[in-house]
């Protein structure tokens, strides 16, 4: 489908704004609807659009699968890491109060980081899922 100029031009123009919108949703989850999951899916959908239009190989070139795997775990590690940090600071797992100078700022930092971890994992898992499904080579049958 990349031969079709309309689709190609449109994808090229939309790619960056979609990712920006995803990041906007990511960081404004505190104020309105949105947050890690939704943002992750939106960012992933930009990559998926790119892969659909330009082909899976181009998509993997843009976003190599080992980087994908690394970021996929990094999200979980960030989330867990925030919890463990608060544990080392003498509170329970995932109690953000101790992360900042005041409980409220601690909560802010904690929620921001945690949502970022969620977004990272979700977006990378979605991209990985899409790549795995679209690039599936059937063995026998079919």
């Amino acid at each position: 489908m990349h031969k079709n100029p309309i689709l190609r031009v449109c994808t090229k123009i939309l790619f960056a704004p979609i990712i920006l919108f995803g990041l906007y949703v990511q960081f404004h989850g505190d104020f309105g609807p949105g947050g890690g999951f939704q943002a992750g899916v939106i960012v992933a959908s930009a990559f998926i659009l790119y892969s659909i239009v330009f082909g899976l190989d181009k998509g993997k070139e843009l976003f190599p699968s080992n980087v994908n795997l690394f970021l996929l775990t990094l999200g979980g590690i960030i989330y867990g890491g925030v919890g463990i940090t608060s544990m080392f600071l003498g509170e329970e797992f995932l109690s953000y109060n101790v992360l900042g100078s005041s409980p409220q700022s601690g909560q802010h930092i904690g929620i921001l980081l945690v949502e970022f971890g969620v977004g990272l994992t979700v977006s990378n898992v979605m991209i990985a899922l899409f790549n795995a499904f679209a690039g599936f080579k059937s063995g026998k049958g079919n």
Partner: protein, 88 residues
Amino acid sequence: MYLAALIACGISGILILVRIILGKTTFDRILAINSLGTIIVLGIALHGFYSGRPEFLDIAIVYALINFIGTIAVLKLFSTGSLGDIQK
């Protein structure tokens, strides 16, 4: 006023749904579902105004986005037989 607009959306939504269920070719269905998406985007925006909290328009944008990508994906599936490769 908003309610009237919502009702209009509802009516045309039903009509489009009829087309989706009747639809002869798959292209008809894709077209109809794309229109349904647009109607729902409008419905979301209108409902925000109707219920007095119009600041949640992000959902409508996401909706439009997902609608677009979904349609492109279906069409890609039809043109090449899979979402991955780029035949032709």
